[in-house]
Structure formats: C-alpha cells, structure tokens
C-alpha cells in the first residue's frame, strides 16, 4: 500500500485470527493489530483526528502550542503529528509512566511536564487544566472530552472491523479515555443487531487511586455507559499472564493493557462455549510490548512481574 505521507497511513490495520487461543471453531477470537499504526498504538487514530478537526475549526494555526494530559500513547501520537505539522507540544504526564514513553516523547520533540504519581492520570488532567488557564493561547485537545476522539473510531476502526468480520458478535477494548469503545461501539451497535460491547478497565496499584477525596474521581466526558454491554476490571496479574500467553501461543508481542483486554475476551469466549453458542469476538491490541520492556513484565515469575509494575500506569 502506498501513501503520500506517514500521516496518511494511519489505520487500515490487520485483523488476525487467533487459532490457538480461540476455544472452538464456533467461538473465535480476532485481534485488531493497532500496534501497526505509525507510532505503534491505537492512539494515532484519535490524535490525528483531533488535530485535523482543530485545524479545520481554526483553533490550531501554524506555530501553535498543543497541550495534552496523557499517560503516554496519545502524547506520542500527537508528538509525531505535531512534528510533521509544525506545532509545539507540551504533554502533562504522570511521573509513574515507563521510561520508554518519556524517551519517545522527547525524540519526537515534545516537552514533558510531570504530574504526581499519586492520583495517576486524574492529576495529569488537573495539572493540564491549570496550565491551560495560565496559557490561554495554548490549545488543549483534551482527549477525554473531545468528540473527535470517539469520531475517529466511529469513522475508521468500526468500519474496518465490520468489513473484515461481518459475522462479529462481540467487541472488546480497553477503557481509558473511552474513545475507542464509544466510537467503535456506536458504529457497531447501529449495524450489528445484538452486538455486545465490552470494556476492560485496568485495575492499577493503590497509589494510582490515591485521591484526597472520593469526590475527586474522574469520569471522561466522552463516556456514555449506554454504549457498553458490560465492563470488567482487570488487575495486573491477569493482564501480564494474558500478555505472555498471547505471545507464547499466537506470537503477538503486545503491551500490558492488551493482556487485560484479552483476559476479558477469553472470559466472554468461555461463557459462550458454556452456553453452547457461537461468537466472533474482536478485540483491540492497543500497542506492542516495546515500551514496557523496562517494567519487567515480560520476564521472570508472575509474582515478580506483578511486583515490578505495582504503582505504575501500565495501561
């Protein structure tokens, strides 16, 4: 396939079957390989769309500074787009994110403002909103509330999956900004009667939930619970176990959040088998494992791996 520039090549990722992890010929798992995007993650879709919409609306003009709270992948996608389009990028990032993410952001020329580990991305959002007040000329794309995030998936991820898998019955993805699930979920619900949309939400270590007050929690503005069929919380042990299993059995080297998504997908597959039904379950491989090698998740015992990512934002 030929494209005029790297930006044009976002999306159209492969959907690959998992013959070894699928429980039966009637209940099949399919992986949407979003690590095949230009910067290696699903976030390229949302980031590029948010930039393009902001340009079309006249918010972003040459020389502008983009501001974004991000635990990593969105920042990396924006950094690539900003570099190619001539914007300055300031990312607010929790300090408990992997070293590779920081290195990549700096490589693409982004500036990083660190937010405290306690409170995770909630704190990054709070710090970014403060910076936006202090710098009214900066453009905060704000992935948690920007409709272009979900629209990117409504316009691309959803149609791609359905075209490749018209017999789809379930879609499983990670719940962060909720953009992937909201956009893809809406598209599929409009076209596939009875389709189930399942969220896999990472359950982090305690420091990430270290809010001062329970009323300081955060629900992304994009989130609409009616799009989802259900939502599972997946802890680090299951996420790491499934990440390793995906590599060992199907050869796919994915990041840790993908393990959490696979865990939910396998749970659904087992339930369908028990009920004697059929299913084609598509799930999102959010990114490859490269950015997480330093976390220790890929080597040693599960206990050690779980200990080593305790307290980090692994998804």
């Amino acid at each position: 396939m030929r494209y005029d520039s790297l930006l044009e090549s976002v999306g159209r990722t492969p959907l690959v079957g998992l013959p070894r992890l699928s429980p039966s010929p009637d209940v099949r798992l399919w992986a949407k390989l979003e690590d095949r995007n230009p910067t290696g993650s699903v976030k390229d879709r949302a980031a590029l769309r948010m930039v393009e919409v902001a340009e079309a609306e006249g918010l972003l003009r040459p020389g502008c500074t983009i501001l974004e709270p991000t635990s990593g992948n969105t920042g990396i996608s924006l950094a690539m787009a900003a570099r190619l389009k001539g914007y300055r990028l300031v990312c607010v990032m929790p300090e408990n994110t992997s070293i590779e993410r920081r290195q990549l952001l700096r490589m693409w020329g982004a500036e990083i403002v660190s937010s405290p580990a306690a409170g995770g991305s909630n704190e990054a959002v709070r710090v970014a909103k403060q910076l936006a007040e202090d710098h009214p000329d900066w453009v905060m794309l704000y992935q948690y509330g920007n409709p272009a995030n979900a629209e990117a998936h409504y316009a691309t991820t959803g149609p791609e999956i359905l075209e490749d898998l018209p017999t789809l019955t379930h879609f499983v993805a990670g719940l962060g900004t909720t953009g992937t699930l909201m956009g893809t979920g809406r598209y599929l619900r409009e076209r596939v009667p009875g389709v189930e949309i399942i969220a896999a939400e990472p359950r982090y270590g305690e420091v990430v939930y270290g809010l001062r007050n329970i009323d300081e929690g955060f629900v992304p503005e994009l989130y609409d619970a009616s799009v989802l069929t259900t939502r599972y919380s997946v802890g680090p042990r299951d996420a790491i176990r499934r990440t390793r299993q995906l590599l060992e059995e199907e050869g796919i080297f994915a990041g840790i959040s993908t393990g959490a998504i696979l865990h939910a997908a396998l749970g659904i597959a087992a339930r369908v088998v028990k009920d004697g039904g059929r299913a084609d379950i598509a799930f999102v491989v959010c990114d490859g494992g490269w950015k997480y090698l330093s976390t220790g998740a890929y080597e040693g015992t599960l206990d050690d791996a779980e200990d080593s990512i305790e307290g980090s934002l692994w998804a």
């Binding site: 976030k43 709270p69 991000t70 635990s71 992948n73 969105t74 409170g119 995770g120 991305s121 909630n122 990054a124 959002v125 992935q143 948690y144 990670g174 719940l175 962060g176 900004t177 953009g179 939400e201 990472p202 359950r203 982090y204 305690e206 990430v208 939930y209 270290g210 809010l211 001062r212 007050n213 329970i214 009323d215 300081e216 929690g217 955060f218 629900v219 992304p220 619970a225 989802l228 069929t229 259900t230 939502r231 599972y232 919380s233 997946v234 802890g235 998804a315």
Partner: protein, 103 residues
C-alpha cells in the same frame, strides 16, 4: 488475608469479601478488606455500615452509587448488573474503587 471457609467459628453468613480503597480505610481502621453479608449489594453495604459507621454514605447516595465510585462484583461493574440491587452469594468478592482517568 483471612482464608475464607476454613474458620469454623466465623458465622456462615459473613462470606462476602469487600475490598476497600485506600481513601475509605479511615472507616475500616486501615483494613484493606472487610467481610460482610447480604443478599444484595444494598444489604451488604448496610451490614458493613453497622461495623464501620460512615462508610456507606461515601459509596452511595440517595440516587444510588455515587458518581465517582465504581463497585465491582467479581470484577464486573455492578452498574451493568443491577446496581445496588445486584444479588450476591457466598464467596463473592466486592471491590470498591474511585473512578480514575486512563489514556
């Protein structure tokens, strides 16, 4: 962690483990998890309230679960089950967590 089902002296109705987030452990003397009983989440919360006064209203208000609180029954969000009327059984694990951002 206390092992369930092996302690003969524990009343048989006290069979649901409730995992408490850091931010609510002021109500549980610092305990990471407490045990309780109840046929529904509503009954369970009322039961733990009797031993940990004040905790219930941090999790629910008149409208149901508070906006920034998530409750999971065996890892499934109860908002997609029957909310605070969700049925519970012996051996279930209920996890309470504040809502946090991802991405």
């Amino acid at each position: 962690m206390p092992s369930r089902g092996t302690d003969e002296w524990r009343p048989c109705t006290m069979a649901i483990e409730v995992r408490i987030p850091t931010i609510l452990r002021t109500y549980t003397d610092g305990a990471r998890s407490v045990e309780g009983s109840g046929d529904t989440l509503r009954a369970l919360l009322s039961d733990i309230e009797s031993r940990h006064p004040g905790i219930q209203e941090r999790i629910v208000d008149d409208a149901g679960l508070r906006r920034f609180v998530n409750v999971y029954l065996n890892d499934e969000d109860v908002r997609f089950l029957d909310g605070i009327e969700t049925s519970l059984s012996d051996g279930d694990v209920v996890t309470v967590l504040p809502a946090v951002a991802g991405g």
